[in-house]
C-alpha cells in the first residue's frame, strides 16, 4: 500500500449558513491522477481552495507526506509543494511567456532581472511540456487557449510542485486543444507528479484519471477507481440517483 502524498482528513467548512464541506476525506497517491467530480455547489472549489491555502478549514486536518500542515496562505501551500492552476489561468496577457512563467519570482543578476536565464529556463519548461509555443518571448495574449493553459501549467511546474491541482483545465478549450492539455497532464503523471483534476467533463476524467472522488452537497459520496466503475456509475453518484434508488428500495422494502 502506497502512502498518500497529500491527505485531507474530516475537513468541514461553513460559510454563513451554508455547509460547503461536511467531514470530507480525500487523499492523493504519488504519481496518480485523481479526479474530483460533482455538480455545481458540490464543494469542489471549496475543497480545492482549502488544499491551496486560500481558505482555512473550520475543522479537520490537511497532511502533506503524512505530516499535518496548516496553510495560512497560498504561499504556505506553495512552500509545501502544492501548485494550483486556476480556471481563469491567472496570466498577465501583455507579458511574454517567460515573464509569466516566472511571475513574482523573476531571477536576478546584478540587481536586474536575468532575462537570458529566464528565457533559457522557460524554454526548458516548455520543452518538458512538449508544447508547441513558438517563442518564450511571445506575449501570452497572442497564444491559443491550449498554449495559455500550457503556460499556466508550466508555471506550476517551475515552482517545483509535487501535487498539482487543476481547476477545470479543459473547460474553456476546444476539442483538439483539450486533447493536448489532457496529454500534458498525463506527461506530468509520467514524470512522477500527483495531479488532482477538478472537472465536469466525465469523458475527459475517464480518459486520464486513476481514481475519482465524487462530492455532492458538501459531502463525499465515494472514491472509486476508474477500473471498477463506469461513467454511468459516476453520473449516478453525482446526481444522487443511486440514493433515490436506495430510498425507493427501502420504501418498497
Amino acid at each position: 500500500m502506497q502512502h498518500a502524498i497529500f491527505e485531507v482528513l474530516n475537513v468541514s467548512k461553513r460559510f454563513a449558513h451554508v455547509d460547503a464541506l461536511i467531514d470530507v476525506n480525500f487523499d492523493v497517491l504519488p504519481g496518480e491522477i485523481h479526479a474530483i467530480c460533482g455538480d455545481n455547489g458540490a464543494g469542489k472549489s471549496t475543497l480545492t481552495k482549502i488544499c491551496a491555502g486560500v481558505y482555512q478549514a473550520d475543522s479537520g486536518e490537511v497532511r502533506v507526506e503524512g505530516k499535518p500542515v496548516h496553510f495560512h496562505s497560498p504561499h504556505d501551500a506553495r512552500d509545501h509543494g502544492i501548485a494550483v492552476v486556476y480556471q481563469d489561468l491567472a496570466l498577465a496577457n501583455d507579458r511574454d511567456v517567460a515573464s509569466n512563467l516566472f511571475l513574482g519570482r523573476e531571477p536576478l543578476r546584478w540587481g536586474m532581472v536575468d532575462k537570458r536565464r529566464m528565457n533559457r529556463e522557460a524554454r526548458e519548461v516548455i520543452a518538458r511540456l512538449r508544447s508547441n509555443i513558438p517563442s518564450v518571448e511571445t506575449p501570452v495574449a497572442l497564444l491559443s487557449g491550449g498554449q495559455r493553459q500550457a503556460v499556466a501549467i508550466g508555471r506550476a511546474i517551475s515552482q517545483g510542485g509535487k501535487v498539482f491541482f487543476m481547476d477545470e483545465p479543459t473547460a474553456a478549450l476546444g476539442v483538439r486543444e483539450s486533447a493536448k492539455v489532457l496529454q500534458l497532464i498525463v506527461n506530468l503523471k509520467e514524470e512522477g507528479s500527483a495531479v488532482v483534476v477538478i472537472s465536469h467533463n466525465l469523458r475527459h476524467v475517464f480518459s486520464i484519471a486513476d481514481r475519482i472522488t465524487v462530492l455532492r452537497r458538501g459531502r463525499k459520496v465515494d472514491t472509486v477507481s476508474k477500473a471498477d466503475s463506469t461513467p454511468d456509475d459516476v453520473v449516478r453518484m453525482i446526481t444522487g440517483a443511486d440514493m433515490l434508488l436506495a430510498e425507493e428500495e427501502v420504501a418498497a422494502g
Binding site: A92, R95, R105
Partner: protein
C-alpha cells in the same frame, strides 16, 4: 519522436500563423511612434524653410525644444509607471505648484537651497504616498483621489503664496545647477540647458528601472492582470504606492528645475500640465488601461508635442491651432495603436 513532431507541426498551422520579420517589424509599436516623430520633424522642417535658413532645425532651436519638453518629460516618466500599473494621476499640475511654492518659500526664508530641495523632494514623495495609499487602501479609484488633489493642491499653492509669485530669492549657484546652462567653449558655441541634462538622467534611470528590474516587471504584471499578480505573490498595493511616490518625487524635482530656470515661482504654474503629461504618455504608446508601454515611447510622445508647439509658432501659426493639432494627434495615436493591437491578434 519525429511522428510526434510532425503531428504538432500540423496543429501549428491552424493555431497561430508565424509572422514574417518585416511584418513583425512594421507592427512594432515603437516603430510606429518613431516614424510619426520623424514625419512630423520633416513636415515642420519643410514649412519653416526660408531663404535665410531653417529656423526649426537650427541647433539652438532644437536645444530650446529639448528644454521646453524637459519638465513635461520628467513628470511623464513617472506617469508612465502610473499608467502601466493601471492607475492615473490628475494632480501632477497642482502638486507641481505646491512643491515649487514650498521650495520658493523655504529658500526665501533663508534655508539652505539644497536642504530645501531635499525637503521638497520628500514632500512630493509624501504626496505621492498619500495618493497611492488612498487609492489602494481605501479602494477609491485614483481618478477620483487625484481629481480631488488637483483642486485641493491648487488651492494650497495659491493660499501658501498668498496669490503672488515667490520671487527675489538669491542663490545664483543653486539656480545655475537646476536651471542654468552647461556651456561648452569649443569651435562651435553651444550651451546645453541643465534641465535637459536632468531630463536625460531621469529618462535613463526611469527607463532602466522599468525595463530591467524586478520592480519594473511587477509594475507591468500588476497593470496587466492584478489578480494574477496577487496570486503570484506580488504585493500589488505596495507596487502601486511606490509608483505614486516615484511620480511625486519627479513632480517635485521638475518644480525645482522650473524655479531654477525662472528664479521665481507662480502659484498658477503647471495648470493643465497633467493633460500634456498624460498626452505624452498615451501618444508614446502606453496602454491607458495598463500592462504595456515604455519610456522610449514616452520620450517620443513628449518630443512630438514639443515639436508641434515649437514648429507651429515658428511658422507663424496662431497658438490655438496647436491645441487642435495636439488633440488630433492624441486621437490618431490611440486609433493607430488599437489598429496595431488588433492586427497582432
Amino acid at each position: 519522436m519525429s511522428k510526434q513532431l510532425q503531428a504538432v507541426g500540423v496543429l501549428d498551422e491552424g493555431e497561430g500563423r508565424q509572422q514574417g520579420w518585416l511584418r513583425r517589424l512594421l507592427l512594432k509599436r515603437e516603430l510606429g511612434i518613431f516614424s510619426a516623430a520623424v514625419a512630423l520633424f520633416l513636415i515642420l522642417t519643410a514649412i519653416n524653410q526660408t531663404a535665410a535658413g531653417n529656423k526649426f532645425t537650427d541647433a539652438n532651436n532644437l536645444l530650446t525644444i529639448a528644454r521646453q519638453i524637459s519638465l513635461t518629460t520628467i513628470i511623464a516618466v513617472g506617469m508612465t509607471y502610473i499608467i502601466v500599473v493601471g492607475e492615473i494621476d490628475l494632480s501632477v499640475g497642482s502638486m507641481f505648484a505646491v512643491c515649487g511654492i514650498v521650495l520658493g518659500i523655504l529658500i526665501k526664508q533663508g534655508y539652505n537651497p539644497w536642504l530645501s530641495m531635499l525637503l521638497t523632494l520628500a514632500l512630493g514623495t509624501g504626496i505621492g504616498f498619500l495618493n497611492g495609499a488612498l487609492t489602494t487602501m481605501l479602494g477609491i479609484p485614483s481618478f477620483v483621489v487625484t481629481l480631488g488633489g488637483l483642486s485641493a493642491m491648487r488651492g494650497i499653492a495659491l493660499g501658501l503664496a498668498g496669490g503672488w509669485p515667490v520671487a527675489s530669492l538669491g542663490q545664483p549657484f543653486f539656480f545655475s545647477v537646476t536651471g542654468g546652462f552647461l556651456v561648452f567653449q569649443t569651435d562651435v558655441y553651444t550651451s546645453i540647458p541643465m534641465q535637459v541634462i536632468w531630463m536625460v538622467l531621469v529618462l535613463l534611470i526611469g527607463g532602466w528601472v522599468l525595463a530591467t528590474t524586478r520592480y519594473g516587471y511587477h509594475l507591468y504584471a500588476t497593470g496587466s492582470n492584478r489578480q494574477a499578480a496577487l496570486l503570484a505573490g506580488i504585493a500589488v498595493r505596495w507596487v502601486k504606492i511606490r509608483a505614486f511616490m516615484f511620480l511625486g518625487f519627479l513632480v517635485a524635482l521638475a518644480s525645482a528645475l522650473q524655479l531654477g530656470f525662472f528664479r521665481s515661482f507662480q502659484p498658477t504654474a503647471g495648470q493643465a500640465l497633467e493633460l500634456d503629461v498624460i498626452a505624452a504618455v498615451i501618444i508614446g504608446g502606453t496602454n491607458l488601461f495598463g500592462g504595456s508601454g515604455n519610456i522610449v515611447g514616452t520620450l517620443l510622445g513628449a518630443a512630438i508635442i514639443g515639436m508641434i508647439n515649437n514648429g507651429l509658432i515658428l511658422a507663424g501659426v496662431p497658438t490655438y491651432w496647436q491645441f487642435v493639432a495636439i488633440g488630433n494627434i492624441i486621437v490618431i495615436a490611440v486609433v493607430i495603436d488599437m489598429f496595431i493591437r488588433r492586427r497582432q491578434k
